[in-house]
């Protein structure tokens, strides 16, 4: 992991070869495959991919929120040096929210409609050891922090605007002073103005409290303004990992390149969003070899038979036969 | 529309219906319900062939309140009639009453719902007031008050359309009092359907309101009508059984409820004649369960996320 080797402090979080399956009716479907990365304190990483790419499963595994039908088929997650029991629901409880919290998308449904927001913010504080009075004081302080007057705390979620609800969600995420905050498409449900404001708030608070941020999104334009590093996921694997500057300047993986092209760029007069041709693979039906090869403009013979490894390339990592100097030439001819 | 499009449309429809049936029949509950229903419909269709003509006190063949035996599989009643014979004929009466009452309910409920939803405004407000009334006041209670009065007016003798007057009245009263639930469902569906483009297109093309409602909206309501219709049948069976149990049925055309009423009057429970009261009760249970299961399965198939059972 060369991109962070210059940093001498040990990483906050290490995801090592994580593989997660979902079991439905006796069939086991692989959601993420051999996902490995590190996260340092205060670092902001974006997880980018289409729906079904495994970005949400990866994040939920880190937060200890895998659903009951998920099974860790391999690999592990280490937090501050010790492995997390991510497939043990009860054992993960003390870790949740106090170490890793989540800003969910579309805060209308993520907030309970029948409880006052101040109580919802205070709830995890009480769970993780504060007295009721301390927790309420903390909740009011957090509301002010995200720009909501503390006396609005008595409101119910439906009495707030979408942007306000998302701010409440952010306040809630900070309640137990976590080291990692996961933003699960935190701005998707908002209009453009609120999107920008909420994103700025998240970035400011991240800097202020030295939070590690994992931002899940399918929108690359959000990434540029808020993250240091990007990991692109496709069909359950990380296909490219690098700094925002590098990836935006020179995407290596053909998929990343197509994603970049699909960002509307008013400066160049390309106002239309250009979709990537072909359909994303489903969990049930995943192509052999590189999962992207059926849609890849530069696919080669080997791509249909062998999945490329995520190898170091330049300052980042990429999983593509185009950039794989170790590609065994003889194997290509055998399979061709 | 060219002939080719018509053909491909009908092919698409055939495929959709086939897929729908496959999904419905894959439903365990629906299978159970359908088997049950087919059995009872067969019994109701030919009771004379299966168990001979309806026995009366004069043609009764057995002892009084004899328990089940080889000769009388379900025992006999207090005047010696064969309970199997009574129950098989009761199936015909009970199912006919329930189905006809349901047809009336569905027609009234659909007309009210579609009119309220389509026209909106004051029509909607007043029709829904009416619907609310029938929704909160149980149709059984309404029927309990209305049926004896109507019978008083019409008299109990003779036959109307092959039914004894009390059964005819029960059919109409159940039908006219249990449509509110259907009207609500149909109205909310109509509200969303009338915003669709095909309705606008029909309106621009000059179709009248009636024609839009009948030819464009109604066909799209069939799934809701079918799924909820099954539940209305179950409810109608329940009401008919209860009304007949309280003595509003007709002993000359005994439904299952009437049989239960006779069993109660004969003191079947206190002398332990479980076969006499058990047989009609099990029939009621099985038929209404069958309709509930089919209704649920239909609803699951049409819209997997929602459930009809209130």
């Amino acid at each position: 992991m060369s991109n962070t080797s210059k940093n001498t402090t040990p990483p906050l979080l290490i995801v090592d070869g994580l593989t997660v399956d979902y079991g439905t009716k006796g069939v086991s479907l692989r959601a993420i495959h051999d996902v490995s990365f590190e996260l340092r304190a205060g670092e902001a990483v974006a997880l980018v991919g289409e729906s079904g790419s495994g970005k949400t499963t990866t994040a939920m595994a880190i937060a200890g929120l895998l659903s009951p039908n998920a099974r860790v088929a391999g690999g592990e997650v280490r937090y501050r040096g010790s492995p997390l029991p991510i497939d043990d629901d009860a054992a993960m409880r003390p870790h949740r929210w106090s170490e890793t919290s989540v800003v969910f998308q579309g805060a209308m449904n993520a907030l309970n409609p029948v409880h006052r927001i101040v109580n919802q913010i205070a709830e995890p504080c009480v769970l993780h050891g504060m007295s009721r009075a301390e927790a309420m004081a903390r909740a009011r302080e957090l509301l002010e922090l995200v720009g909501i007057p503390a006396d609005r705390g008595a409101a119910y979620p439906h009495q707030l605007s979408g942007g306000m609800r998302q701010r409440v969600m952010i306040a809630m995420a900070l309640a137990c002073r976590p080291s990692i905050v996961i933003g699960d498409e935190p701005t998707t449900a908002l209009d453009v103005i609120n999107q920008a404001q909420v994103l700025k708030l998240l970035v400011d608070l991240r800097t202020k409290f030295n939070l590690a941020l994992i931002l899940i999104t399918h929108d690359l334009s959000v990434v540029a303004e808020s993250c240091d590093r990007v990991m692109i996921m496709y069909s359950g694997r990380i296909v490219e990992d690098g700094s925002v500057a590098d990836i935006f300047a020179e995407p290596k993986h053909p998929y990343t390149r197509l994603l970049m092209d699909s960002i509307p760029n008013p400066a160049e007069g390309k106002r239309m969003l250009r979709p990537i041709p072909g359909d994303p693979p489903t969990l049930m039906k995943r192509p052999l070899g590189c999962a992207f090869h059926p849609r890849c403009p530069s696919a080669m013979a080997i791509c249909a038979t062998e999945a490329p490894h995520l190898n170091a390339y330049g300052k980042g990592r990429v999983a593509c036969h185009l950039h794989n100097s170790l590609a065994p030439a003889d194997k290509v001819s055998v399979n061709a | 529309m060219s002939e080719g499009t018509v053909q491909s449309l009908s092919r698409i429809r055939a495929r959709a219906i086939k897929g729908f049936l496959r999904q419905l029949l894959g439903h365990g509950g629906a299978q159970l319900g359908l088997v049950c229903l087919v059995f009872f419909v067969a019994v109701a269709a030919m009771p004379n062939i299966l168990v001979g003509p309806l026995q009366t006190a004069i043609t009764a063949t057995g002892d009084f309140l004899a328990p089940p035996s080889g000769q009388h599989l379900l025992g006999t009643d207090d005047v010696g009639r064969d309970v199997l014979n009574l129950v098989a004929h009761g199936a015909r009466i009970s199912l006919t009453i329930a189905l006809l009452a349901t047809v009336i309910s569905l027609i009234v409920g659909t007309i009210v719902g579609i009119t309220a939803g389509y026209f909106g405004g004051w029509v909607d407000v007043w029709l829904m007031r009416l619907t609310d009334f029938f929704f909160v006041v149980p149709s059984f209670v309404l029927a309990l008050v209305i049926t004896p009065v109507v019978l008083e007016v019409m008299g109990r003798g003779g036959e109307i359309l092959g039914f004894r007057p009390s059964l005819f009245v029960i059919i109409v009263v159940i039908g006219l009092t249990s449509w509110a639930f259907i009207a609500r469902v149909i109205r909310s569906q109509t509200l969303s359907l009338k915003e669709r483009t095909f309705v606008d297109r029909a309106r621009i093309a000059g179709s009248s309101d009636t024609s839009i409602m009948v030819r464009h909206i109604l066909p799209n309501l069939v799934p809701q009508i079918a799924a909820n219709g099954a539940l209305v049948v179950a409810n109608a069976i329940y009401i008919e059984t209860s009304l007949s149990f309280l003595g509003l049925g007709d002993p000359l055309q005994p439904s299952w409820g009437t049989l239960l009423s006779l069993a109660q009057r004969a003191g079947a429970a206190s002398v332990g004649a479980w076969w006499y009261l058990g047989a009609p009760g099990i029939c009621v249970l099985m038929v209404s369960l069958a309709f509930v299961l089919i209704g649920n399965a239909l609803d699951d198939t049409f819209n997997p996320r929602r459930r009809v059972i209130p």
């Binding site: - | 007031r129 006041v137 008050v145 332990g272 009760g281 249970l285 509930v292």
Partner: protein, 324 residues
């Protein structure tokens, strides 16, 4: 808030008005004028003075509308439902009031048991959807839901009264020695047990189905994921976040259901000869005692309307979203 309550009361009044109107129409549809019907139906039990009093209080010699309607409504509002045919010309209101406590005991106890068992079982089944208890509870509930409760009552009599001899299956008191309040109460409760059980079993079926459906909707909500992410235990998630939300549809159903519960109780009372409103209804039905039937109908209308009011107000307390 106040506008909402105003609308609720207006709707309640409309329902009552329609019940009264139906009563008015029904009684006048019967051939002959109501007073002579009263004479005929009552056979010898009503005195001429009573009929004359009735004629005057209903104003039968005046036009149908508005005079008779207004008089009828005002008599009804004042609790004057007329005289019974069957019970020797007694006031219908008195008859009903006399029978009301027995029905309240039956329906109240059955509702209480059904809510307790049905809602808890349904909530649990929905919370652990697809589990063993869920399958058993759902299957049994659908069967109970499809069974007329009076038939359940008859089965209970056969089993617990006739075959086992554990509990009485008839009436509300044993003939003979029940001296003192405690002995009377115990005897009353023993008689109440089977009817309550019959009504409650049918209700449990319904409540399980509804509570389960409500709960299985709630567990898929996003705020349940939030609750889990916050580090709540399963028990805390159930009690603090799921239960109250799942109760919203249940509260509505339980209150709206009252009319159906009383309707079901009518038939159950008939099975057990329980001396409540149901028993009175059956007697009135057999004697074609229309004033009593209509009094019962009005009573049911009023109780349904009250239950509706309670449901609407309770919903407002449980769900902050309806306040505006």
């Amino acid at each position: 808030m106040s506008r909402r309550i105003g609308a609720i009361f207006l709707r309640a009044m409309m329902t009552l008005l329609m019940v009264a109107t139906l009563n008015f129409i029904l009684f006048r549809v019967i051939p002959g004028d109501p007073a002579s019907l009263l004479l005929g139906g009552a056979r010898i039990s009503v005195t001429a003075e009573q009929i004359e009093a009735q004629r005057q209080s209903w104003g039968l010699d005046r036009p149908l509308f508005p005079d008779q309607v207004v008089d009828y409504l005002s008599a009804t509002v004042h609790g004057d439902f007329g005289y019974s045919f069957k019970f020797r010309g007694r006031h219908v209101a008195d008859l009903i009031l006399e029978r009301l406590p027995a029905t309240i005991a039956l329906v109240g106890l059955a509702q209480f048991i059904a809510i307790l068992c049905g809602v808890m079982l349904g909530v649990y089944a929905g919370w652990r959807r697809g589990g063993g208890i869920d399958h058993v509870a759902t299957g049994a509930s659908l069967a109970l839901y499809s069974t007329p409760s009076f038939w359940l009552g008859m089965l209970l009599v056969v089993i617990f009264s006739t075959a086992l001899g554990w509990l009485p299956g008839y009436g509300a008191s044993s003939p003979g020695a029940t001296i003192g309040f405690v002995a009377w109460l115990l005897d009353y409760l023993r008689h109440l047990a089977l009817p309550v059980f019959a009504v409650a079993l049918g209700l449990i079926g319904q409540y399980v189905v509804v509570a389960r459906a409500a709960m299985s909707d709630v567990v898929t909500e996003d705020y349940m994921v939030t609750a889990r992410a916050k580090g709540l235990t399963n028990g805390q998630m159930l009690m603090r976040h799921a239960f109250r939300n799942a109760m919203l549809p249940v509260v509505t159903l339980v209150s709206l259901n009252l009319g159906y519960v009383v309707a079901g109780a009518i038939t159950v009372e008939a099975v057990f000869a329980w001396p409540g409103i149901g028993g009175l209804t059956v007697e009135a039905l057999n004697a074609r005692d229309y004033p009593v039937l209509q009094g019962v109908f009005l009573l049911l209308g009023v109780s349904i309307v009250i239950a509706n009011l309670i449901a609407d107000l309770a919903y407002g307390l449980l769900d902050p979203r309806v306040k505006q």
